[in-house]
């Protein structure tokens, strides 16, 4: 990162926000990932040593939102819709077009939603300001998430687990499990000690 918080290789004319801590040994592909970032929290985003955040990642983080990315975690493309907290442990592999949402940003009651949409229309820029309770998402260490998967509010994916492509995870996934489907179900368990190429 340059002293003015731009990136030497960036295609987008942006800066890394001041409350985003990127380890000197992490890779951040573009500041476009912070195009929708508006968190005012201290240490709103932490990106650990050896982590990589590629082109398709969008930190759609609201005023109080916080995101942490552990060491050696690779995020290829993720829409991180965060108003509370989304955390990724160490050694996670996150595929493209995935969605991590800790909030729906709008009330489920249609009449309350109408009020919120009407006030959004007079806002500049036109962003939804969360009026619903956000429930943190926790992705523990060594988790692999396949492309197009969605992780819904309040979900924890336990250590070492795998979430299949296009899965929609609506409830917690225990450690060392394989969860697939929409809605996702556990189809097998993994042995934390076994190796395929021993």
């Amino acid at each position: 990162m340059n002293p003015d918080r731009t990136l030497p290789w960036d295609w987008y004319p942006g800066r890394v926000p001041d409350n985003v801590a990127v380890d000197p040994e992490a890779y951040l592909e573009t500041t476009y990932s912070f195009h929708l970032f508006r968190s005012a929290a201290a240490d709103a985003v932490r990106i650990g040593r050896g982590a990589s955040i590629y082109l398709g990642v969008m930190f759609d983080v609201g005023p109080k939102g916080r995101v942490s990315v552990g060491e050696f975690t690779l995020i290829n493309g993720a829409r991180i819709i965060c108003d509370a907290e989304v955390s990724f442990g160490d050694y996670c592999l996150i595929s493209w077009n995935t969605v991590f949402m800790d909030t729906c940003r709008l009330p489920t009651s249609a009449s309350l939603r109408r009020t919120e949409l009407a006030s959004t229309a007079s806002r500049e820029p036109r962003r939804l300001e969360s009026t619903t309770i956000a429930r943190p998402i926790r992705i523990e260490r060594n988790v692999w998430i396949g492309f197009d998967a969605c992780i819904l509010p309040g979900v924890t994916v336990g250590e070492g687990s795998v979430v299949g492509a296009r899965s929609v995870v609506v409830e917690d996934v225990p450690p060392f499990s394989v969860a697939v489907g929409n809605p996702a179900r556990i189809i097998r368990k993994l042995d934390p000690l076994k190796t395929e190429n021993a």
């Binding site: 949402m101 489920t108 229309a121 007079s122 969605c150 929609v168 809605p183």
Partner: protein, 191 residues
Amino acid sequence: MSTTPSTPASGWSNGPLPANVRIGENTLITADYAFKRFRTKQADALCIGSHCTMDGVHFAIEQSGRVSIGDYCYFTNAVLLCELELRIGNYVVVGWNATIADSDFHPLSPAERIVDAIACSPLNQGRPRPEIAKRAVVIEDDVWIGPNATILKGVRLGAGAWIEAGSLVTRDVPPGSRVLGNPAQIVGEVK
């Protein structure tokens, strides 16, 4: 210098709107690609009401397609694929990367698909494509559609329906119900 009280700005971030698009006051459309696949020749092919936010929406509307959208809608990077008609009400919210399509775009039967493949190829000399099933999609007022959801042809989403993220909706959804899954199933009522 005079300051005239201005009506709220409306328009597309990247230039003048196509002639057959009508939008109400305070409706904003963003993204350079919004009309890249806007091929419809219908008059008033796309009508959007007032106070809408169409942020990064693809309006992929074919020759005879028509799309209408009500007031106070908020779409984020939605993909609208239309061969016939999409009818969308007021206060409808569509999440990131959701797709709404009123056609399967190709025929189901193998023989007809060969004809279609040839008709779509660079070797085709203006021969018509086979008839393809199209059925209008209707989305009533106050529907919420989550990110990565897909709504297929002929579906009617009843007023206030809540479509969870990643759902694939192949059948009508009754008003006020919450659906989830592939294929989407009713999992409850919206509270």
